[in-house]
């Protein structure tokens, strides 16, 4: 009964969504505000109703309705409550429900405003969001229905149907299969919602862009209206990516956090175009240039968002993450194709209206460097797109599978990432319109001194790997240039206004949140780069079967195997846990407990033991695929230098976005304050 109710709710929201599309189009073409208002209200209604539908599914998950196939496949009696709730996005059908629900939340948030000042944009914003929402709701209703249940036919076969087939009787399995063990981790519980939040938030600026194209508004109003949405999208997409890396590092037991798996690259692609977009919109805002390019970037971002969901959910790339295969692939493909073609056609239609006279007075002006930034991001995008798509093309042509793995990505992307870092160091010193090599050079020498000193220190410390020397020097360069920029601003306020250091810093950031938030994000990026360089260039690893009391050495650490316990858990799984002592220079640093859980299904989930410092991680895996006994156990040990700077940089990144997304001081207010002064 509850399942039928839930399904009915989804059909209702689907109809409401379709109504929004029709009413908005009618309202636009008839010039009727009443129709547009009806569309807006219909969109507002979708969120509470869809919340009801989603809650219904959560109740079914929590109460163990295993007669429903989805509930059966992702939950089991032994799972704790929080896992039963988060199993909502543990499988394909539930993930699509989550996507729709988040989209409806954002749609409501957008349409809460009446948009009096931008009334003309509203109908088309509603159309774009509602079409996207309708598509995902249609996937749930027609292809991946989470309310489908098990039936037994007269012939004894078990089949899946929403409603009772003739003569069939319902089946009530006493227990479910349970969630895939590797997904039972905080990183993987948070990763999908964050990623999806980022995905759906990018639909909002896209919707405004399309609305601007349809209505022929060639100004940058759509960009200003959606600036914060874009930052929110970027924040969540970045968080989703980082949480995915954190999960991979702690759960997979491979020793790394990023393996250039296509499913990792898929959500990186909209992040790349989104990042390029965040930079290039500033050229349009400041100089009124490159309007077509910004449109193209947000169109690409939207298409890559849908492509990211398509690649992850349809099993088209058979990899570790693509847990399920489904019939929705072609539908997705058609939707991506249609939306892309229509969007590009609109852009071509408005091409002339968006044309603005482009003037570049210098190769070193800020707008020129932003363009270079865009070129580099597009370069990385081409590499990622080609790396993901080419194996499919190759298989199609030759019938043979190939793998495009980490060495190819690292070698191809490396120079571009390095160039982006160099650009992060130079661009903050440039000004709009008038920077030259000379003016930048004049500002550059001060931060260059500590950078050269840092390079000398690295050489003195014995670093000889040229990639490390270039990489870490660029890190130092970006940090010193950015600090120099902070210092210039703070110094100016201290002297000019007599503010103390802390107030000067506070007000400097407040005076231009976007600029200084952005600079802070630059620092966070290179701090992350420290961790990436450390692991990529200096990771060492060893594997050994150790008898009790035996030890192994790796990168100055000694690891001794002390004992092993195997205990059954209440949920039917058994936990195998080792105790190992970590020594350095003969001194005991601590004890680690690498372990793995074995589930009744035979699946295992690894819990890595990590001895962590700011300098490095000693990462110990109790190998679950080799024979194991209390007398001797196999260990894989990885030494990851500087890896924690990746996580520190990620936290700094969030702070940076919060600074940048904060309210800008009202320009009218500023003017009146200045007049009073």
């Amino acid at each position: 009964m509850l399942a039928q109710f839930g399904f009915g709710v989804f059909i209702l929201t689907f109809l409401l969504s379709l109504f929004s599309v029709i009413a908005a189009v009618l309202g636009y073409f008839n010039g009727s505000d009443r129709w547009v208002e009806a569309a807006r209200r219909s969109m507002l209604l979708i969120f509470p109703i869809l919340t009801l539908g989603t809650l219904t599914l959560v109740i079914l998950l929590v109460t163990g309705h295993y007669e429903l196939e989805y509930i059966y496949s992702v939950t089991s009696n032994d799972m704790p409550l929080y896992l039963k709730i988060t199993a909502l996005w543990g499988g394909q059908a539930g993930s699509l429900v989550l996507w729709s629900w988040l989209m409806s939340a954002f749609a409501s948030a957008v349409t809460l405003h009446k948009w009096e000042r931008d009334r003309e944009l509203l109908p088309w914003v509603i159309v774009v969001i509602s079409v996207t929402l309708s598509f995902f709701l249609a996937l749930t209703i027609f292809f991946e229905n989470p309310f489908t249940r098990w039936w037994q036919t007269l012939g004894g076969d078990f089949i899946l149907r929403m409603f009772a087939p003739t003569g069939a009787v319902p089946v009530f399995p006493p227990d479910g299969q349970g969630l895939n063990p590797v997904l039972r981790h905080p990183g993987m519980i948070l990763h999908p919602p964050m990623l999806y939040l980022g995905f759906v938030a990018f639909v909002i600026p896209f919707a405004f862009a399309i609305a601007a194209l349809v209505t022929g508004r060639s100004d940058d109003r759509w960009i200003r209206l959606t600036r914060r949405w874009t930052l929110v999208a970027w924040l969540f997409l970045s968080l989703g990516l980082v949480l995915g890396m954190w999960w991979a590092y702690n759960v997979l037991g491979w020793g790394g956090f990023w393996n250039w798996d296509p499913i990792e690259v898929a959500p990186l692609m909209p992040w790349l175009t989104g990042t390029a977009f965040l930079h290039s919109v500033m050229i349009q805002e400041k100089k009124g240039m490159f309007k077509q390019w910004n449109m193209l970037l947000i169109i690409l971002t939207y298409s890559l968002v849908i492509l990211g969901t398509f690649l992850a959910r349809t099993g088209v790339l058979s990899s570790i993450h693509a847990f399920s295969q489904s019939s929705i692939g072609p539908v997705f493909f058609v939707f991506i194709g249609l939306t892309l073609i229509i969007s590009i056609a609109l852009l071509i239609y408005r091409w002339k209206d968006l044309k603005a006279e482009v003037e570049m007075s210098s190769w070193f002006s800020r707008e020129a460097l932003f363009l270079l930034n865009n070129l580099l991001f597009m370069g990385v995008l081409i590499i990622c797109f080609w790396g993901v798509i080419f194996p499919l093309i190759s298989e199609l042509v030759t019938g043979q599978k190939i793998t495009v793995g980490p060495p190819w990505y690292q070698r191809t992307n490396g120079p571009l990432f390095g160039s982006l870092m160099a650009l992060m160091g130079i661009a903050p010193l440039s000004a709009w319109g008038r920077s030259t090599f000379k003016t930048i050079g004049r500002l550059l020498w001060k931060p260059s001194i500590p950078t050269v000193l840092a390079l000398a220190a690295m050489i003195a410390l014995g670093i000889r790997n040229w990639i490390a020397l270039v990489g870490f020097t660029l890190v130092a360069f970006v940090i010193f240039v950015t600090l120099f920029e902070f210092w210039r601003g703070v110094h100016s306020r201290q002297k000019g206004r007599g503010e103390n250091l802390f107030i000067a810093i506070w007000r400097l950031f407040g005076s231009n949140r976007r600029r200084y938030g952005g600079y802070f994000i630059h620092i966070s990026m290179v701090v992350m780069a420290i961790g990436i360089l450390g692991v990529e260039l200096y990771q060492t690893t060893t594997q050994k079967l150790l008898a009790t009391g035996d030890d192994l050495q790796l990168s100055g650490y000694t690891l001794r195997y002390d004992s092993l316990t195997q205990v059954p858990n209440a949920d039917g799984s058994s936990l195998t846990s080792a105790v190992v002592s970590v020594f350095k220079g003969g001194q005991l640093l601590g004890k680690l407990h690498p372990q793995f859980a074995t589930f009744p299904s035979g699946e295992t989930a690894t819990v890595v033991g990590i001895y962590s410092t700011l300098a490095d991680d000693l990462y110990v895996v109790l190998i679950d695929w080799e024979s194991i006994s209390p007398a001797q156990a196999p260990f894989k040990v990885v030494h990851n230098p500087l890896v924690n700077w990746l996580w520190i940089g990620s936290l700094m990144f969030i702070i940076g976005i919060l600074i940048a997304a904060g309210p800008e001081p009202d320009k009218e207010d500023l003017r009146s304050t200045r007049k009073l002064e």
Binding site: K286, S319, E357, K495
Partner: protein
């Protein structure tokens, strides 16, 4: 003389016997079990290969039973004295090119290596050419003002007014000096 010949014959046969007795001595090490290659030696090669079954999973960390056997196969081949290249080739022959972390440089696979640099360099070239045109149009107003430039000024592209924040900041810094 005869005595000398007998001694020479004795020495000759002694060498022959010694040589023959050495044959088994030489072949013994090949027949006896060699020390088994370590996990690290096996993983050094396995980490360069991908599991033939679970796509995108490196062979050194793949937990399946099949991969465990493949790692043992690598160990065995190493013990037989096979080189890393030979072992990789064996896997390619039996399981296809997808076991390699990069496609072999042949046929259509060349596209994976060629397309990104060509596309990027095309982007660089196009941007460079466009930039030269934009730069020319930026320098024009100084010599010959035209209506297009006055339109540019309307959109706020006058360099002096470009970045009021930077101008204010620099003015304040100058005052102090």
């Amino acid at each position: 003389m005869i005595m000398k010949k007998k001694v020479e014959l004795l020495i000759f046969f002694t060498f022959i016997i010694l040589a023959l007795s050495l044959v088994p001595a030489i072949s013994v090490p090949a027949q006896q079990p060699t020390p088994s290659p370590s996990d690290d030696e096996v993983n050094a090669i396995a980490s360069q290969l991908f599991c033939p079954v679970c796509q995108n999973t490196p062979l050194d960390v793949c937990p399946t039973q099949a991969c465990r056997q493949w790692r043992e196969l690598i160990r065995q081949m190493l013990a037989e004295g096979k080189t890393a290249a030979e072992i990789k080739q064996y896997f390619v022959t039996y399981y296809g090119a997808s076991v390699l972390s990069e496609p072999p440089r042949s046929g259509i696979n060349w596209l994976i290596y060629i397309v990104p640099p060509v596309a990027f360099m095309t982007g660089v070239f196009l941007l460079f050419m466009a930039f030269r045109t934009w730069k020319k149009s930026a320098t024009r107003p100084a010599t010959a003002p035209n209506p297009i430039n006055s339109r540019g000024a309307e959109t706020g592209s006058c360099p002096a007014a470009d970045d009021p924040y930077i101008s204010r900041l620099e003015d304040e810094l100058k005052k102090r000096k």
